[in-house]
């Protein structure tokens, strides 16, 4: 249990929330990660600012160029909203998060700020080249997800700043979406390695590819060399096999209680072939 004396305040609006955060408050929305850290005593903020119900952070709105997802929108809400139909890759990944209760509590903003190398929702955000929209005492700014996340638990967030929303630009065409995470079991698992992809094809060959790997480096990574090498390849696992070492060398995994670095590297390579197989099987 965490301390009941822990102060939590609920601001009326975003402006008040920003004042409280500037005064040293730590934002909390779903609490699925933060409350665990408080319980373990690895973090002890002065006080918490409950932002989970602020209307400014609860928007889910389609614009001409893409979808705006408020930071406090939950995974369950994204999974059930018709607005995410245009982003099947997002749904594939969100479905693998925790349990239904965790999905109903956890938020997209929370995942982005936690910056876990194993964040399941982060893989599609890298694939979709999402923008993180921030607000703070000095106004608003926007950063690509890959510039916002700097390392495990490290972000470009400045003191007093808050993630307001995540912007997903619409894609050209309908690329094949792929997401697979490998862990010790299927339920509630933290990935040993995960691969997400968007593959545009033309005439039985790869026209364009975006790949993102989770849990094999300090952040989610896009192995650009492999993405480029895939262009023009036939859709056949055998024709991709020589890229496995290239993909493995793009990873910088660690050994921890879940898996060794070597195993993570091997799994990442196997996932590339699984992607090819799944692409071949789709017809």
């Amino acid at each position: 249990m965490w301390k009941s004396s822990l102060r939590i305040v609920k601001p009326r609006d975003l402006a008040e929330a920003l004042e409280l955060i500037s005064a040293g408050g730590k934002p909390v929305a779903g609490g699925t990660d933060l409350f665990v850290r408080l319980r373990k005593g690895v973090e002890s903020p002065q006080f918490l600012v409950y932002i989970g119900e602020l209307s400014e952070l609860r928007v889910l709105e389609e614009k001409e160029e893409g979808l705006v997802i408020g930071a406090a929108v939950t995974h369950a809400e994204l999974l059930s909203s018709p607005l995410t139909e245009k982003f099947p890759i997002l749904r594939l990944a969100l479905r693998t998060i925790g349990s239904p209760a965790i999905q109903a509590m956890g938020t997209i903003g929370g995942n982005v700020v936690n910056a876990s190398p194993a964040g399941d929702s982060l893989v599609p955000l890298y694939l979709l080249e999402a923008k993180v929209q921030l607000c703070g005492p000095e106004g608003e700014r926007e950063l690509p997800i890959s510039d916002f996340i700097l390392g495990p638990g490290k972000t470009a967030l400045r003191p007093g700043e808050l993630v307001r929303s995540v912007f997903l630009p619409f894609l050209d065409g309908s690329p094949y979406p792929y997401f697979r995470k490998v862990g010790r079991r299927r339920a509630l698992v933290i990935a040993v390695a995960s691969l997400g992809a968007l593959i545009w094809t033309e005439g039985g060959r790869v026209k364009k590819a975006r790949l993102a790997l989770g849990s094999v480096a300090p952040t989610v990574i896009r192995p650009k060399e492999v993405e480029e090498a895939l262009v023009g390849r036939p859709i056949d696992p055998e024709a991709w096999r020589d890229l496995v070492p290239l993909l493995s060398s793009a990873t910088k995994p660690i050994s921890d209680l879940r898996a060794s670095a070597d195993y993570r590297r091997k799994v990442a390579g196997s996932l590339l072939l699984d992607l090819a197989q799944s692409l071949q099987n789709r017809r």
């Binding site: 004396s5 822990l6 609920k10 609490g31 369950a76 349990s99 965790i102």
Partner: protein, 154 residues
């Protein structure tokens, strides 16, 4: 803070620190000990309750997060002295062994049937993946949920 919310259909007003866990508020302040604490960190599902119709882990919820909301616990399921079909089905299929995980399973299953009244066996299994039973009576638990779904859709 003076916290107001609805609990099992009735309005509640209680003076509580805003950072108190919902689990402790329910069990210790309000005497509803049906909701259990297993792991205390969101892995086991024993503390599952419904907040505004959605499943929520009460061990990772602060009191302030249910302000103005509708909370449903295992104690709120039976009506007029009659068990809810889910509770009855858990007894009939022997989906209860030691019973510790049961309230969490039943509340999670209740949340499933709200969004999917006729789930397949696979859907029940996947939905309940966040609830652990250490007596390993999963088969009977899945059976109970399917039986209750049938009973409720009659």
């Amino acid at each position: 803070m003076l916290l107001r919310f609805r609990l099992n259909g009735r309005p509640v007003e209680v003076d509580v620190p805003p950072g108190r866990r919902l689990l402790d508020l329910l069990r210790e302040d309000l005497g509803l000990t049906g909701t259990k604490e297993g792991c205390g960190e969101g892995e086991c599902g024993a503390c599952t309750v419904l907040v505004d119709g959605k499943p929520r882990l009460s061990c990772l919820t602060a009191a302030i997060q249910v302000e103005g909301k509708e909370v449903l616990t295992i104690e709120g399921l039976a009506k007029d002295g009659k068990l809810h079909p889910l509770q009855k089905a858990f007894i009939e299929t022997a989906g209860v062994q030691c019973g510790f995980c049961t309230p969490g399973f039943i509340m999670a299953a209740y949340a499933l049937l709200l969004v999917n009244p006729k789930p397949t066996r696979q859907e029940v299994r996947e939905w309940l993946s966040g609830n652990l039973c250490r007596c390993t009576g999963y088969e009977q638990i899945v059976e109970a949920v399917l039986r209750a779904a049938e009973e409720l859709s009659r």
